[in-house]
Assembly symmetry: C2
Homo-oligomer: 262 residues x 2
């Protein structure tokens, strides 16, 4: 890997819960000592923002003193904007690795698409920066991140030790919310086919007009034992290698044979 | 395909440019007669929203009279929210097909990730609704959608004729901005590896503070002749079959062999 002046890797850290969340603080603490850390993260919660970018309004950045001697910036943008700003306006170079999280709440299975945490990591991967998104299966603000910090440290250390790393390496790591000793190990998995069954909560405002809250029940339709959802149920940490080429090559072959549009 | 009472397919139409855009009107006109159309689309521009969903604020919907006798609703949500609201609160069933667009501007290559048009289509595909996103390579409000309408009609007719359709069928269709007779045909393609080289436009506000506009130059790094970008350069309509399983199976095998995290 390319190294900073002091021959240590540059580690860009971001998230989607906002720069003041306990999750991002835990991520910083987990990798302290593994390289030169720079934090660039949103100034407000950006959960569920997916791969959104800000094109209709300008972006702001402010330097923050939140992590001792670690350089930190909050931006008014989405998680994807944060990665773009970090590379182009703060680091003026590609970091050696981008870490996103630790998210308050799971980002397994289909959540990879809705998650700002994973979209930030994916944006870095598109840019040719190896990248990992971390999520703890606990939505609470005061979730216990101590076991996660050990897992994060282990995974990032191993990845940084690799001599030759795929520039587009992108991992979606989910961590069960159990004591460290109850974690059975780390499993490489595929993304489960699971989704939310929507059930909008319909209410009436004081002016008599209806409004709707998006809610829904998570359902796993995937019976496979090689999925992230299955691994997490067994108290394993799930690691799903992710790609940004969304081409469905199987369907591509079928359509080519069918001559449907000839 | 399942049919409506009149034995005609139910066609859900959405977009990301907003319900009043000429692109969505052209899409409605292009498929009129092919089924029972219901339009559910955002009440404001939602370009670049990716797979964002609205969880921090409630959603509003209003019935609109914009397309003659065709049922139409505008919502305050993202394109993905529109699909969820349409299925759960308007249709109370899955439509037989979901069409998104016609987008003012290209959504080829990596744009599939940022595009609200394609995210709406992908959300439908996750829900088990065959879905197609259409984009014209012309950003202008007054772009000429007439050639696109013929292409859309041809593709949707062919898809609706199929006896057995993959519930998760998802196509990303991009149309070159040329006269109809100059379109050479329809090509099944893979997503090109192309991206934006960011170049934020830095400005100073009247109070002396900096702000940044996201800009960038599109660059195609993919030399393949089977990509969407290549096909479009040759004046073909590009059709990329898209999937929402983002697992990188090649990297999965490598990581499993490496025993990195054992």
């Amino acid at each position: 890997m390319a190294k900073s002046k002091k021959n240590e890797p540059v580690i860009l850290i971001t998230n989607d819960d906002d720069i003041t969340s306990p999750g991002i603080r835990s991520l910083v603490e987990a990798v302290k000592g593994l390289g030169k850390i720079v934090v660039v993260a949103p100034d407000k919660p950006q959960s569920g923002m997916g791969h959104a970018i800000t094109i209709g309004s300008p972006l702001r950045m402010n330097k923050m003193n939140l992590f001792g001697d670690i350089e930190a910036w909050q931006t008014s943008g989405t998680p994807v904007d944060c990665v773009k700003l970090a590379v182009d306006k703060i680091l003026h170079r590609k970091p050696d690795i981008c870490l996103s999280g630790i998210n308050h709440g799971a980002n397994h299975s289909i959540n990879v698409l809705y998650s700002g945490t994973m979209s930030a990591a994916m944006e870095a991967s598109i840019e040719g920066i190896p990248s990992i998104g971390f999520s703890l299966m606990d939505y609470r603000y005061d979730a216990d991140f101590e076991p996660s910090k050990k897992i994060v440290h282990k995974i990032v250390s191993e990845i940084l030790k690799q001599k030759k790393l795929d520039d587009h390496l992108l991992l979606n790591v989910n961590i069960p919310s159990v004591p460290y000793n109850d974690i059975k190990g780390i499993k490489i998995c595929k993304q489960a086919y699971a989704k939310y069954e929507e059930d909008f909560d319909e209410r009436t405002d004081p002016h008599g007009k209806k409004y709707f809250w998006l809610t829904g029940e998570f359902k796993n339709f995937d019976k496979g034992k090689d999925t992230d959802v299955f691994a997490l149920q067994q108290n394993y940490v799930s690691v799903v290698p992710v790609q940004f080429d969304l081409t469905n090559y199987t369907l591509k072959k079928v359509l080519e044979k069918s001559k449907l549009f000839k």
